[in-house]
């Protein structure tokens, strides 16, 4: 391990209120620490920049998946395994389960959390594209109060979030009632497990009598943040779904993404595959 541990500290949060008190007491001094699947990798590599961590793992009130008539509420500490084992998510939000299944492998799924995945703010994260297409909202708490932010507005730029240093994401809510939509999730990684996505695609469309009544399209790994392709969605909404429309959508999505070359892939491949995946999804809607 390449870190001098003496520089670092970690303390337990006994409860959510305790955690919020600690964060409020010295704003920015303590960084929330959940499943550790990202932060511990940086610790090992000697690349962990912040020094003091607040362990949230023992706060049971941040766990659990609750069903209400209009909405499903997922505790921020729900692990990928928790998501996979949830009946309501399997039935009504299959893309969330698809994303969880494709993240890491069993040992990572047992430890990584949905809140951590969001707050880590990696543009390559697997869950966020699925959450974007389900119009997820984040419940955020601090000693100053509670607020709700629509997930589509949360990521402001590379690793920049609508989240103050004294705030915690406590839960993620997804509205129910997308039963009739066509849905698709596709993670393109370098291998079938233990992979970081090169392009991650999620989409859902409400297609009635050949017409696109409504649609959501989201990508990971093709921009500084996970992105919802609102321009492409607007261009497709209300249109009659045809092979030509599917082909034309390639040009729209090309403007909604801004991928780069990095050690995992390159811009050209990402643009091509993003367009291919969208076209394939739309053509699939014809059947």
């Amino acid at each position: 391990m390449r870190t001098w541990l003496a520089d670092f500290d970690m303390r337990n949060a006994a409860s959510l209120d305790d955690a919020l008190e600690v964060l409020a007491g010295e704003p920015g001094a303590w960084t929330p620490f959940a499943g550790g699947t990202d932060l511990m990798v940086l610790l090992e590599a000697g690349k962990l920049t912040r020094k003091r961590y607040l362990n949230l793992w023992s706060i049971d009130q941040l766990r659990g998946i609750r069903e209400d008539p209009q909405v499903v509420t997922i505790g921020a500490l729900a692990t990928y395994t928790d998501l996979l084992e949830s009946r309501v998510l399997q039935d009504e939000f299959p893309l969330v389960c698809a994303a969880a299944r494709e993240t890491g492998a069993v040992a990572i799924q047992n430890r990584g959390t949905i809140g951590g995945n969001i707050a880590n703010a990696s543009p390559a994260a697997d869950l966020p594209p699925a959450l974007l297409i389900y119009d997820a909202a984040l419940q955020i708490a601090s000693t100053r109060g509670r607020r709700v932010v629509s997930y589509v507005d949360f990521h402001k730029g590379y690793k920049v979030m609508d989240l103050a240093p004294d705030e915690l994401i406590t839960a993620i809510t997804v509205p129910r009632g997308r039963g009739g939509w066509i849905q698709s999730y596709r993670k393109v990684g370098a291998r079938r497990a233990q992979a970081i996505s090169k392009v991650c695609f999620a989409a859902a469309a409400d297609v009635v009598a050949g017409q696109v009544r409504d649609i959501r399209i989201a990508f990971g790994s093709v921009a500084p943040t996970v992105v919802r392709c609102t321009r492409t969605e607007a261009a497709l909404r209300g249109q009659t779904l045809t092979r030509d429309l599917a082909a034309a959508a390639r040009a729209y999505v090309d403007r909604d993404v801004s991928p780069i070359d990095d050690i995992r892939s390159n811009e050209r491949y990402r643009r091509t595959v993003a367009a291919n995946l969208l076209e394939q999804f739309l053509v699939g809607g014809l059947r």
Partner: protein, 153 residues
């Protein structure tokens, strides 16, 4: 720890892996990558498979941990261990402890796993020697001898 209460002091962010290997001298748990990628350091915490390189000591407090040293009773090997020997599931052996633990967790959770279940359950445990074929055979063979806890034959 492997069924016994253990009390120790350490830095809260010490990796569980280092505590196991150095403080507790349980060297059967191996380090292959230090970033949760290879699974050589896999142990179970409260029955769930985890990578011990990604667990800060503070998060291990008050939990029940099982390492490779804790899965056989005396001289009697776990069914998975026995099958790994018979079917050629171990070559260099460095991935074997983590691989064996991942397989035991699968067998505890799925009564009759198919090949695809095995491939999925072991996907976080990288092996560079075997091409996995004999590991799959070993795990599927172990199903025959193994009874999950609580299941009466």
């Amino acid at each position: 720890m492997n069924g016994e209460a253990v009390s120790l002091q350490g830095h809260p962010m010490s990796r569980l892996l280092d505590v196991l290997r150095t403080t507790l001298r349980l060297t059967g748990t191996k380090e292959g990558c230090g970033e949760g990628e290879c699974g050589a350091c896999a142990v179970t915490i409260d029955g769930r498979l985890v990578n011990s390189c990604l667990i800060p000591l503070l998060q291990a407090e008050g939990t029940s941990i099982v390492t490779i040293e804790g899965i056989s009773s005396g001289d009697e090997l776990h069914a998975v261990q026995q099958a790994f020997i018979e079917y050629g599931g171990a070559q260099c052996g460095i991935c074997t402890p983590g691989m064996v633990l991942a397989a035991t967790v699968l067998l505890d959770r799925v009564a009759e796993p198919c090949l695809e279940d095995v491939q999925h359950a072991l996907a976080g445990n990288l092996c560079r020697c075997t091409g996995y074929m004999r590991i799959f055979e070993a795990v599927l063979a172990a199903v025959k001898y193994h009874r999950p806890p609580g299941v009466v034959a």
